[in-house]
Amino acid sequence: MRRHAGVLLMVALLGAACPASAATAQGTQAGVAFVPYRLGASTTVVISFRLGGARQATLSPLTSVEMRLPEGLSAGLNGLGLATCSAATLRLDGPGGCPVDALMGRGSATVGVPLGGETVTEQVAMTIVMAPAVQAHTTLLFYVSGATPVISQLVFQGSLLGGSPPFGAQLNTAIPLVTGLPGAPDVAVTGMRAEIGPKDLEYHKRVGGHTITYSPEGFGLPRSCPRAGFRFAATFKFANGAEESTSSNIPCPTG
């Protein structure tokens, strides 16, 4: 039995954020959206993908996603991720164990857990935190956790790297192989929606001896929009060596 309810929900959300999406030849869809989408303003980057049905059928887990973000998007995080949290802390205590200022964003993922003759699709929540830099690269940790029908937890890492034209920053996410039931295929991430940015984030800081809550700025959109829009691309790699790529443009905002 396969369940697609989570995926459908994700697609709906993407649509609401004016996403641009593209599909690979195998049907894998990827998209990038900005929330809010105002030129020259701080924004939350919404990155999403959903593996195509054919790809899911292969049961070969996704091992990495390279998302090349549009050029012009500020490379700096503008006060986002002021603190860091380690993977060990996440595994042991969950996001609750991390400083709130380490929070980078939230999201959800769709995970396929093969159980015997069927794969149980589990919709899991995702929390993104700033991790200590690795080799001087900005490093993010993605914490996903599900409870129904199986209590599961997964931590994987992403690196924010500099990009080259026509793209800007590049988010490389390595998704570790997660074994499931012995003898059955590994647990597979089949879809994800990650919101990296100030949306719904509340940081704390001390001002005048008081702790105040504020919203960090996050990514900054350029003041002008390229003629063809903001171009992005995504490459998906799978455990069996397969690779899929897609690219598209985010239309410039109207009005």
Binding site: V113, L115, A147, I151, L181, P182, G183, A184
Partner: protein
């Protein structure tokens, strides 16, 4: 001999008798009655030759020459092996003998008697006797004799003693001498007469024997007859008795001479009639006496004499050893004929041994048989059925010719030249001794002659082939020795299974040392039930098994019957598979421990039933029974059965048969398999030829019927002694399952200290059921509360099954996610063990496998995990063993390997655990129980009042619950 001599002899005999009669004064016995001398002679020492035999006897006498006592009987035990053939010599009728008119051809020898003519006497002179006188005065003049034979007396003693003769007896006190005295003698001096005797020979005629004797020889002394009666002793030794010797004779010596060839001319001078008329025989020479045919023994003769005064004396005389045994020859033949030539059937067996006798008077006789050994064909064996109603004859009974009829197993017949008629008699089973298990007693008789032979049947411990041995056979001339073992249902012997020739062999050893062999062949050519002989015996035994009660869930007894017909191969073992649910309540029986189980010495407390076997061919097999004990582990199985059978049949104790069986228990269904060890095929050399096996497990409260009324079967594989296997089956089905009460209950709990990660969450589930009553739980489905979820970390460490099989022993420790305990009357101790999370790869959802152990029993219960479309986790135990249980406690504990985690804090939440029980009849008991959360703050406790469980059968019956839902599957 001339007429003068004839008259002299006649006169002598008359004188012997007259003097003895007249003397009439018994002597004062100052010496003991006894035999002064005994000698035996043969005219040839050649073994088997027909030599003349003579035996001379002289009795002890007192100083005056008188016999100490008058002879009454004299019995001559002839040397062993010396025989005579009275049949070869003409017999004189008794009346003819009494008329003194026996034919000379009937004379077989001579009797020589020496008797006192005038008894010795010594009396003192009553008056002085002067020299020159011829008269002597004594107290009784008639103590002395006159005449030539007895008139010599001695007067006085020493130098003046004078010997003279009595002229006449003047009166009662006065003797007149032939010559005057030369000296004077004072009164009181002795007048002495030393007894003088005379010897006379008499012809011995072969007359018609008196009853009880093989021969009677007789001699006539005109006024008296002397009879020499010959009989055969129990050991076959000939003895000749001169009995009731006339008191008119003061016999002091005798010689009996028996001729080897009476008609031989050398005896012409002694071949005389009662009137002493001698002449040659007018018949062809025939052998009468025959020398022993053993050269190893020194032949001896023993003589026993008795007096009229009741005294007894014995003496033995040796003869020269026989020589020339190597010159003897024999050529026996054997015939063995069964009463039926059907396969594997009880059969009578006639064994006839013929030993042609050399009868030439001047040749050498056939040597006597010392031992006979007859080996019957391979396959022919003793049969247990003979023990039905059989008794044994004790040696003492045999000696007294008092063997019970129930010990008679055959007849015997012996033909010997000694007797006109064959010796006939019976064959008895002798009481076993420590060294001889199967003894045979043969008593044969004819004409008052009785012979006892003892033999034995040796039965091979490996093949059962029998050899009948008669050793130390009496040294008699046997022309035929025939033994006929009775046939019929209780025959001693049974034919083998193999078709075709069946050869018997015999080995005979003579006393002379010759060894001869003979054989006889018959053919097994017919099947036991008739028709053509079956070269390849079939094997299609019947099989019946079941329980006394067909009511489900009842205590009952179990029976199993396996039987075959005669023509089939022998039974050798079986393995039977009982249907699930037909179980034994082990907790009710103390298991027989080791080494008692191995030694077959279990106590009665472990008995669970009885076993009965029928052994032997034919319509009357022997039935043996013995207890069946429940034992501990045996041959890799957790339990065993001991069948201990004392194979005591009739007089035979073949030993104790111990047949052990393994009781194997299917770990999934608890179905029982009983696998016997190979049955003994032969005991004490007797092939058992097992015909049927009956096992009754009837201990009260031990066997319980299933609670599943599905039609099933009791299957078995039966092994034959030839290695064949046959599969058999009998239908089995109980009834009344739908009316069995079914009232299981369930309780569940967890702990408040639950988490998603870390040590996760616990869950305890307790299922209870009234012990030992009602239907068994066939299926269980429980649904996890939504707050308790399996953890991926546990799933990752599930034990991977290879196909349908999982080796729990090799499962990683992290896959042990819980423990379970089952309490059941099936076992004396609760079964407990670990719960494993088992993965089936990509084939199926994981399962929970509970591996329970206890009392050597291993049980695996598998519950299949399921996930509904709503993400509900269920566990289904779809086919639980049909066995009475009283509780089933399952614990999935907290810990690093905890299978469960809590998706949210549990306190204050209402956790519900839906469940469904079903029995085999399809009745479902459904409910939802709250999962109590232990350790919560009081106000946050999730414990709620349990919802009413619904769905009990009893509720359905009285209609008080409309929630009950029965579903027939």
């Amino acid at each position: 001999m001339g007429d003068l001599a004839h008259k002299v002899r006649l006169a002598l005999v008359l004188a012997l008798i007259a003097s003895a009669t007249l003397s009439g004064v018994p002597a004062v016995a100052s010496a003991q009655f006894g035999i002064a001398s005994l000698s035996a002679q043969l005219t040839s020492s050649q073994a088997g030759a027909h030599a003349d035999f003579s035996s001379s006897l002289a009795l002890d006498t007192e100083a005056l020459g008188n016999p100490v006592s008058q002879l009454r009987t004299a019995t001559f035990a002839l040397p062993e092996g010396m025989i005579g053939n009275p049949q070869a010599i003409e017999r004189c009728p008794v009346l003819t003998f009494e008329e003194l008119d026996c034919n000379r051809n009937s004379q077989v020898g001579e009797l020589s008697l020496t008797a006192v003519q005038c008894r010795g006497a010594s009396l003192p002179l009553q008056q002085p006797a002067e020299a020159g006188t011829r008269l002597l005065v004594v107290s009784d003049a008639h103590d002395f004799c006159t005449g030539e034979a007895g008139s010599a007396i001695t007067v006085g003693s020493g130098a003046s003693a004078q010997t003279t003769a009595i002229a006449t007896i003047v009166n009662e006190t006065t003797l007149e001498l032939d010559a005057p005295l030369e000296h004077s003698y004072a009164a009181g001096e002795d007048v002495t007469h030393i007894a003088n005797s005379a010897t006379e020979e008499f012809s011995l005629f072969n007359i018609e024997p008196t009853p009880g004797h093989v021969a009677t020889f007789a001699a006539s002394l005109l006024l008296a007859q002397v009879y020499v009666e010959v009989k055969v002793g129990p050991e076959g030794r000939l003895s000749a008795t001169i009995s009731e010797t006339s008191t008119v004779l003061d016999v002091v010596a005798s010689t009996v001479t028996l001729w080897g060839v009476p008609a031989n001319a050398s005896h012409n001078a002694h071949r005389c009639n009662e009137f002493f008329e001698c002449a040659p025989a007018s018949t062809e020479p025939a052998a009468f006496m025959t020398n022993p045919t053993s050269c190893d023994e020194v032949p001896s003769e023993a003589v026993t004499v008795t007096s009229w005064q009741g005294e007894v004396a014995t003496k033995t005389a040796a003869l020269p050893s026989m020589t020339g045994c190597e010159q003897l020859a024999m050529s026996p033949s054997l015939t063995v004929v069964p009463s039926t030539t059907r396969q594997s059937s009880p059969a009578g067996y006639e064994l006839a041994l013929r030993v042609p006798q050399e009868e030439s008077p001047y040749g050498l006789a056939t040597p006597a048989l010392n031992s006979v050994s007859v080996t019957l064909p391979r396959g022919t064996s003793l049969t247990p059925g003979v023990a039905n109603g059989l008794a044994a004859c004790e040696t003492s009974q045999f000696s007294e010719d008092a063997c019970p009829d129930a010990s008679r197993v055959g007849s015997a017949e012996v033909t010997t030249p000694l007797l006109r008629e064959p010796l006939k008699g019976s064959l008895y089973i002798g009481a076993p001794t420590a060294s001889e298990k199967y003894r045979l007693f043969m008593r044969i008789s004819a004409d008052g002659v009785a012979l006892d032979l003892q033999g034995q049947v040796q039965a091979s411990e490996e093949t059962g082939q029998t050899t009948t041995v008669f050793a130390d056979v009496p040294q008699l001339e046997f022309e035929t020795l025939k033994v006929d073992f009775f046939g019929g249902p209780s025959a001693v012997l049974a034919n083998g299974m193999a078709c075709g020739p069946a050869t018997s062999g015999a080995t005979m050893t003579s006393y002379a040392g010759q060894v001869a062999s003979a054989s006889s062949t018959f053919s097994i050519d017919e099947a036991s039930e008739g028709g053509a002989c079956l070269s390849n015996a079939p094997f299609a035994p019947s099989f019946v098994a079941g329980t006394e009660s067909a009511q489900s869930g009842r205590s009952t007894s179990f029976m199993l019957r396996i039987a075959r017909t005669d023509e089939q191969q022998d039974l050798a073992g079986f393995t039977t598979h009982l249907p699930p649910g037909l179980v034994g309540l082990l907790s009710s029986v103390p298991l027989c421990p080791e080494p008692a189980a191995t030694d077959g010495e279990c106590s009665h407390a472990s008995a669970v039933g009885t076993a009965t076997v029928a052994a032997g061919a034919g319509p009357s097999p022997l039935y043996l029974s013995g207890p069946v004990y429940l034992t501990g582990p045996y041959d890799g199985a957790p339990f065993g059965l001991d069948v201990v059978m004392n194979a005591a049949a009739g007089p035979f104790d073949l030993g104790t048969a111990l047949v052990r069986s393994r009781i194997l228990v299917n770990p999934s269904s608890l179905a029982i398999t009983i696998a016997s060890s190979p049955f003994p095929q032969i005991m004490g050399g007797v092939p058992l030829r097992l015909r049927s096996i009956e096992v009754d497990l009837d201990r009260a409260g031990f066997i319980v019927t299933p609670t599943d009324c599905t039609p099933r079967s009791i299957d078995a594989t039966i092994q034959s002694s030839e290695g064949a296997d046959t599969e058999v089956s009998t239908p089995y089905q109980v009834n009344g399952c739908a009316s069995l009460p079914f009232t299981p209950t369930l309780a569940a709990s967890t702990q408040a200290t639950a988490s998603r990660e870390g040590d996760g969450a616990s869950l305890d589930v307790d299922i209870t059921k009234p012990a030992g009553s009602g239907a068994s739980i066939h299926t269980v489905q429980v649904e996890l509360p939504s707050q308790l979820r399996p953890r991926l970390t546990a799933i990752q460490h599930a034990c991977l099954a290879a196909g349908q099989l999982v080796s729990l022993a090799s499962c990683p420790s992290q896959s042990r996610v819980g423990v379970a305990t089952v309490t059941s009357p099936v076992t004396a101790v609760p079964l407990s063990g670990a719960i494993y999370l088992v993965a089936h790869g990509g084939e199926a959802l994981p399962s929970l496998v509970t591996h329970l152990e206890g009392q050597g029993l291993e049980v695996d219960l598998e519950g299949q995990l399921g996930i509904s479309s709503k993400g509900v986790i269920t566990t289904d135990f779809e086919s639980l063993p049909d066995a009475p249980i009283s509780s089933f406690d399952l614990t999935l504990p907290r810990g690093p390997s905890s299978m469960l985690g809590a998706s949210a804090p549990l306190c204050g939440k209402r956790l519900l655990l839906p469940y469904t029980f079903a029995d085999a009849a399809g009745l479902e008991v459904k409910g939802r129980v709250p999962v109590s959360v232990g350790g919560c703050p009081r106000h946050a406790s999730s414990a709620r009042r349990p919802r009413r469980r619904h769905g009990s059968r009893s509720a359905a019956k009285d209609g008080t619950s409309d929630l009950r839902k029965a579903r027939q599957r």
